[in-house]
Amino acid sequence: MAAVELRGVRKAFGRTAVIHGIDLEIRDNEFMVFVGPSGCGKSTLLRLIAGLEDADGGDILIGGAEVNDVPPAGRGIAMVFQSYALYPHMSVYENMAFGLTLARTARHTVEDRVRAAARTLRIEDLLHRKPRELSGGQRQRVAIGRAIVREPRVFLFDEPLSNLDAALRVAMRIEIAELRRQIGATMVYVTHDQVEAMTLADRIAVLNAGRLEQVGTPMDLYHHPANTFVAGFLGSPRMNLLAATVTDVNGAAVTAALPGGGRVRIPVIADGVSAGDGVTLGVRPQHTVPAGDADAVLPGTVFVVERLGAETFCHVRLADGQAVVTQAAGDVRVAAGDPLAVGIAADTAHLFTGDGRALPRHRRHPLAEPPAPVTPAAAAPPPSR
């Protein structure tokens, strides 16, 4: 159990910079999830924390101590790899005990810890088997077990579930959440599965091209994305982003002209935009409303209907060619070619400046807790007497 702190961490492979100066504090006992598009540097950042890569600049602190030059084994971390990376010639027991044996842990301690971990993960019956005799899910459990027995201060997971099939992934996700409650340690978890990120994380760090786009609780990111990248990245189907123009600005709201002639007053802080500026309007497909209840409508024509059973996604083409997705009930009566007016509710719509920055809302969503205060030690110097 320890906090992890990254200060201006940079990394380049040869001449290509991959991580461009990241500052991030992962709190003690926190479950931090890194998400981002493929190749954005999630794994690299995790491997920097593990010590499997050396940073080219900046500092990495674990439990308050700088670990820049500490080898992985000395950092108090354990890592679960995407490919499990179990030692093929060792039994499950030997796999889990290997690290402890190398550290010259007493035999009975090793035995106790391996058995305890095996019990937690329900792999007690598999201890004598070789990895090739296990299913994917069992291998993943062994890999997690190998991490647990080391009793690390920080767990690092690199897409641990991505090799499993969909059903098993859901089951393992729930097990990880359960495990997390049982063992209580700082966890850093890389994934590109949104559901894993939203359900497991205390906080999510969204990475893009080696930079942090936003760090916050899942609901914070969902309801208050800091920019168009985060807005488009989290949520499925992705948020509709439409070009709009500011017509009026006052202390309480910004009014924007929509494609198709409508206007909508969105209660956000103007923060530098003024009438005439081009902005981006963001509306999640889930947040569209029937035209009758709407603050504004976007008239268009349905061109694709996707029925998933419980819900229906209607793809609507507006007069100016932009496409909008709206979520409707599973049994909604609609067909391709029908005219449809997509309704927007002002209090769930987002406005972004021309360069993609979100305009802050006046009222935060009740589920999106304000960013919790940083740990007292780091926040302010102790009051002097």
Binding site: A50, L52, P71, P72, A73, I77, A78, M79, F81, Q82, S83, A85, L86, Y87, P88, H89, F98, G99, L102, A103, R146, R150
Partner: protein, 271 residues
């Protein structure tokens, strides 16, 4: 029809490869002038040639010499090659490919080209007419290919496996000996066997760097066998000796057969 042709082809190949060995066995069981009669199986087979081989010269000693040199060469080559291939296959350093290429080019020189140079070296080290000298010189050709083959296999091993071991606190030495070595088993068996066969059959160095009968290895001992007169080559005994020294090789191949096959294919298919 196709199957018949295939069977015929197979039979031809088997005949072509097995016949010389069969002929050696048949000849070794004949004595005197029976050698020159063409027959499928000797009319009255005798083991006289086998007895004569061990009586005429210290052939047992030669076998022991060959065994010592060949296994020594295999042991040292594999030990050096495993460590070298870890460095060459897993550690990125400047000049790595240059080093690999020069290792390969060393093995391209014909034996004769390095013979005189090695002779001086062996003499300077005081290893002339000693098994140590032979072992040392054999590594000139066993090391390059063991290093090459093992480096190829090392590269195939997944990076995450090594990283998992690093996180577990393993030093490079532990990684090589306790993680990689067991996984390289088939490759070790294949390359070790090839090195053994090369060393076992080597002739030129063995002839040049040894002097006395008690330091001879098998191929030289066989070549230097002489009959009753200087003009008679004891074919029967030569054949008997050849059979005796080929049997251990065949036994080795059979013992390691399964491992070798998996070793030779392991690199090709991802498992």
């Amino acid at each position: 029809m196709k199957r018949l042709l295939f069977a015929l082809l197979l039979a031809a190949i088997v005949f072509y490869t097995v016949f010389p060995f069969y002929w050696a066995i048949v000849s070794s069981l004949k004595s005197g002038s029976a050698l020159f009669i063409v027959e499928a199986w000797p009319a009255d087979p005798t083991l006289a040639n086998y007895a004569a081989v061990f009586r005429g010269q210290p052939f047992g000693r030669s076998i022991l010499n060959s065994l010592l040199v060949a296994s020594g060469v295999v042991g040292v080559s594999l030990a050096l090659a495993v460590t070298a291939s870890y460095a060459l296959g897993r550690v990125a350093f400047r000049g790595r490919s240059l080093l690999l290429l020069s290792i390969l080019s060393v093995s391209m020189f014909p034996q004769v080209a390095v013979l005189s140079g090695l002779f001086e070296l062996v003499r300077a080290l005081g290893l002339y007419n000693s098994l140590w000298g032979l072992g040392l010189t054999y590594m000139i050709f066993t090391l390059p290919f063991t290093v090459w083959v093992l480096t190829t296999f090392m590269r195939e091993l997944p990076r995450e496996l090594e990283e998992a071991a690093i996180v577990d606190g393993a030093t490079p030495w532990v990684i090589v000996t306790r993680i990689f070595l067991p996984l390289l088993g088939p490759a070790l068996a294949a390359t070790g066997l090839l090195a053994f066969i090369t060393a076992w059959n080597e002739f030129l160095f063995a002839l040049t760097f040894t002097l006395t009968d008690d330091r001879r290895t098998v191929p030289v001992a066989i070549a230097l066998m002489s009959g009753a007169s200087a003009f008679e080559l004891p074919w029967g005994q030569v054949m008997a000796a050849s059979v005796v020294v080929t049997v251990p090789l065949i036994a080795l191949v059979l013992v390691f057969q399964r491992r070798i096959v998996s070793g030779l294919t392991a690199g090709a298919v991802k498992g």
